[in-house]
Symmetry: C2
């Protein structure tokens, strides 16, 4: 299956220069994903698909990354939720194939929608509860009680501001 070249090849018939490149791309995405708090395996899957000029099958992803079926299955699920991968149905066999979505806008909005929005939304309710607790505090000097209420106001303002920045970012990457 290997080309008529002197280069050493790995299982699957890929040349070392290609494997080397893939590894570097995967590393890059893994390190980047760490910043935004995505699991290594998820980043690695996106990386290996990004580094492939043609769509990859489930089995190819698992082999190239030495990752269990379980990890690949869960990782693909996350990436589909974010919208980072497109499924392309291979006419070759009956397994699905995966290609990276290359639109930064889609990646950013998908990530925000799946991983940030829920927290912001839930945070609204928690903030209400927090404010209620603050109102109940009466065993402190009046001045201090007022200070606490003031902090709750701050928190609410931060939350509003946080919510309003999302569409701005989306627009910027559009």
């Amino acid at each position: 299956m290997s080309k008529s070249t002197a280069a050493l090849v790995r299982a699957g018939g890929r040349a070392v220069d290609v494997v080397d490149f893939e590894a570097a791309v995967v590393d890059f995405f893994v390190d980047t994903a760490e910043v935004i708090g995505l699991p290594k395996s998820v980043a690695a899957i996106y990386g290996i698909v990004f580094a492939a000029p043609a769509p990859l099958s489930f089995a190819e992803i698992s082999e190239r990354l030495h990752l269990s079926k379980g990890s690949v299955s869960q990782g693909l699920k996350v990436l589909r939720e974010i919208g980072a991968l497109k499924e392309v149905s291979a006419s070759v066999d009956r397994s699905e194939r995966f290609a990276p979505d290359l639109e930064l806008r889609a990646l950013v909005t998908g990530f925000l929608r799946a991983k940030v929005q829920p927290h912001l939304k839930e945070g609204g309710g928690r903030l209400q509860a927090l404010r209620a607790k603050a109102e109940k505090v009466d065993s402190l000097p009046l001045e201090h009680c007022r200070a606490l209420r003031g902090r709750m106001d701050k928190l609410a303002a931060w939350h509003r501001k946080g919510r309003s920045v999302i569409p701005l970012i989306t627009k910027f990457f559009g």
Copy 2:
């Protein structure tokens, strides 16, 4: 040390309503910090300081959170780097006291500067290396080689875009 109230108190003489409020605030910050990838203890420290109407000492933070001196020391270091806390020198004794910075702008820019910028900066170099590897790949059909180079261009464009959004965000929160 406790007030003339029927409320149960905890070590340190704080009333249950206050302790309850503090716990809720700390929880809120801990959960929020998870999203942006800050350690629990760091978020908890900011939370307990935020929930206190007056600046807290190192010892008070450690006691109220049941956190070791080591954790408090490291946590305060991170929060100082980000600029999330101001040190106010207490005239009372010789220990420093800590108050929260309540400017959202300062928190956001501090976080970006300390935790995001370094990655973006370092990423620039890695991208160069990645591109070099892509150039070396020649054991694939020409069409595929070209596809890989195209992806590296995409990556570089993403990186530029990512860099340029930082000042925008800073400005928005200003």
